[in-house]
């Protein structure tokens, strides 16, 4: 009898252990983390991420190479969302280089593919970029329409994809059309979303607010926003943004007749533009420096800047991108 009781106790003990083991294994299996993507898909994503890194540094040509590779890699694994992303990014770099026809082809393809992918994240960004393309070719009404659609899609999708960007763009186009209160509403809303800051767009929000303040003849607010924009762009390592902030600060200080400060800011701006190979901007800042020198004798000579006016050749690569 005692023997049987012993067997029963051992049986219960063993059953308890098996039960525990079963619970542990089940719990382990239940907490299923995201499965690692297949190697080819991972490669496509790696290429896209690499391209994004270069784009943020202002190296559009190099970014373009990676985005093309990412597109091919996504095609190989039939990753439609990856293809949409790649086309969208290729459109952005094409626009940044002034190739608007090419950008429109990429955006069209991205839009078609997104019909298959049904991505609530990519859709608003395609619309936003269509708005940017319309703006770039001077169709401001169309641009506003696209950005409003992008804004509605981003809000509706719940992902707030590019929300700050669309708000900034709307604020900019409204300011340019003299609709200052509307522009301010948009920009203030963008500023309130700084928690969901996307790729340093908040720097642009402050930049737009500074321009708005300048339009309203409020230099102190403009300077404050420009200083904040400069700090944010520096944090985001956005060289084009930094150059634009410095250029605008230079213009502001010229208006305030703070010639020495303006000379210093414009000097830094022209060098960054030259490093980025942006010859039109170099020429614009050169003219500002010339005006500064005529008004105040600062800088003493424009000779150091004349060398920067030489347009870069086809094979030229920005030192910031090496």
């Amino acid at each position: 009898m005692t023997g049987r009781t012993g067997y029963r106790a051992a049986g219960r003990w063993l059953a308890a252990w098996i039960g525990c083991l079963y619970i542990v294994i089940s719990a382990g299996c239940a907490v299923r983390p995201e499965r690692p993507a297949p190697p080819r898909l991972m490669e496509a994503r790696r290429l896209a991420t690499e391209g994004s890194g270069w784009y943020r540094k202002g190296c559009v040509k190099r970014a373009e190479q990676y985005f093309y590779q990412a597109l091919e890699a996504s095609r190989l694994v039939d990753d439609v969302e990856g293809m949409v992303r790649a086309h969208n990014n290729l459109a952005v770099v094409a626009m940044a280089q002034g190739y608007y026809d090419e950008a429109s082809v990429h955006l069209k393809r991205a839009w078609e593919l997104n019909d298959r992918a049904k991505s609530t994240e990519e859709g608003p960004l395609i619309l936003g970029n269509l708005g940017s393309l319309a703006y770039k070719v001077g169709r401001y009404q169309d641009a506003e329409g696209f950005w409003r659609q992008a804004l509605a899609a981003a809000e509706g999708g719940g992902r707030q994809s590019g929300l700050v960007l669309h708000l900034n763009n709307l604020g900019m186009v409204m300011r340019q059309q003299g609709r200052l209160p509307e522009a301010e509403t948009m920009l203030r809303r963008a500023l309130s979303l700084t928690g969901e800051n996307e790729e340093g767009s908040t720097g642009n929000t402050h930049f737009q607010l500074a321009l708005l303040a300048e339009t309203r003849d409020d230099p102190s607010t403009a300077e404050r926003h420009l200083s904040m924009a400069l700090a944010l762009d520096r944090g985001a390592e956005n060289p084009r943004g930094i150059a634009q902030d410095l250029e605008q600060l230079g213009i502001l200080h010229q208006r305030q007749q703070s010639w020495d400060r303006a000379a210093g800011e414009l000097d830094r701006a022209i060098r960054i533009y030259a490093a980025l190979g942006s010859i039109e901007k170099v020429e614009a800042v050169f003219r500002l420096l010339d005006a500064n020198r005529e008004a105040s004798g600062m800088p003493a000579s424009l000779d150091p800047y004349r060398g920067l006016l030489v347009p870069p050749g086809e094979e030229w690569e920005s030192p910031l991108c090496q």
Binding site: R8, R85, G162, F207
Partner: protein
């Protein structure tokens, strides 16, 4: 008395039986893969040294795995006795004239014993018998062998040259016999008073005329001697130059010896390189296989649910929107 079991007890019993069955099945499968259940025949091989062989080292017959090393022991006469077991299927091919040698597949990889099958005429080696062995050659031995071969080749070349020269000398139309025949013909002509030299020796009038001519020649020679005395000074300078040249060329033989040594070293290095290069494809193949294996292991690790959750998340690629600033 009939025993009664509760459901729990039955479940536990079934579980234990299942576990035992799984264990036995695993052992059976592993054992099958490892040839645990196949019959083997043991043999012994003795080498001067162990060549890094250890228990489990492979034994190959015509490049095929047929067994493994079971023990490595040192004998009293300071030799290494290797115990091997060979699959019984192949034991009949191990004969008294079979030869065991230690080989390394490449620079990467473990040594193994390669056994050559014996001839059919020889009797099969009895189980537990000693397979005749041949020592593995070291690199130095290979080199020495190469030097020896080179020397033999040189001697053979010299002998060839000698036989060629001897054949030429023996040839009637050859240079030596031809010259001797010419000399014989000339001396015969002179003796018979034919030809210029023969006529001079036989004609007295001609002899006196020649003597007169020789006086004139003596005078010319005297003036030539005078000129030569003046040339001595120049000759001295030339001599000095020659001495300098000789001094400068003194180390030349030593240099030539050094150059010869360097060339011979280069030849050795080239030989080594050639041998190594033969192994390169195998090494790269092994490295590739190794990398594939590592990748497979990494993949399986990544799939493990306990590890998977701790892997760093891959950053999600961004989609960009063109940032406009109103320029």
């Amino acid at each position: 008395m009939r025993l009664e079991y509760s459901t729990t007890e039955k479940m536990v019993g079934a579980f234990i039986l299942l576990t035992l069955f799984t264990l036995l099945f695993t052992v059976a499968m592993v054992g099958r893969g490892k040839n645990w259940f196949r019959k083997h025949v043991s043999y012994y091989i003795t080498f001067k040294e162990g060549y890094n062989l250890s228990d489990g080292s492979r034994v190959k017959l015509l490049g095929t795995d047929v067994g493994q090393v079971t023990e490595v022991t040192l004998t009293e006469d300071n030799r290494v006795r290797i115990g091997v077991r060979i699959l019984a299927n192949y034991a009949s091919r191990i004969r008294t004239d079979s030869l065991a040698i230690v080989e390394s597949p490449t620079f990467i990889g473990s040594e193994y014993i390669a056994v050559t099958p014996g001839s059919k005429a020889s009797p099969a080696l009895a189980p537990g018998g000693e397979i005749p062995s041949k020592e593995k050659k070291s690199l130095g031995e290979y080199l020495e062998e190469y030097e020896l071969e080179k020397m033999v080749k040189r001697v053979s070349e010299i002998l060839d040259d000698l036989s060629r020269i001897t054949a030429q000398l023996k040839d009637r139309g050859g240079p030596l016999m031809g010259t001797l025949q010419n000399v014989q013909r000339l001396t015969g002509t002179v003796e018979q008073g034919r030809g210029s030299l023969g006529r001079i020796l036989r004609d007295d009038e001609l002899y006196l005329k020649i003597m007169a001519e020789l006086d004139a020649v003596s005078k010319i020679l005297a003036s030539v001697q005078e000129t030569a005395a003046q040339s001595v000074e120049i000759g001295g300078n030339v001599k000095e130059l020659s001495e300098r040249l000789a001094k400068a060329s003194e180390p030349a033989p030593a240099m030539a010896v050094q150059v010869q040594e360097i060339v011979s070293r280069m030849v050795r290095v080239t030989l080594l390189l050639e041998r190594t290069m033969k192994d390169v494809p195998a090494i790269s193949q092994q490295a590739r296989e190794g990398m594939r294996e590592v990748n497979r292991i990494l993949d399986s690790i990544q799939k493990n649910f306990l590890i998977r959750s701790n892997l760093p998340a891959q950053p999600k690629p961004a989609t960009h929107g063109l940032e406009l600033r109103g320029e």
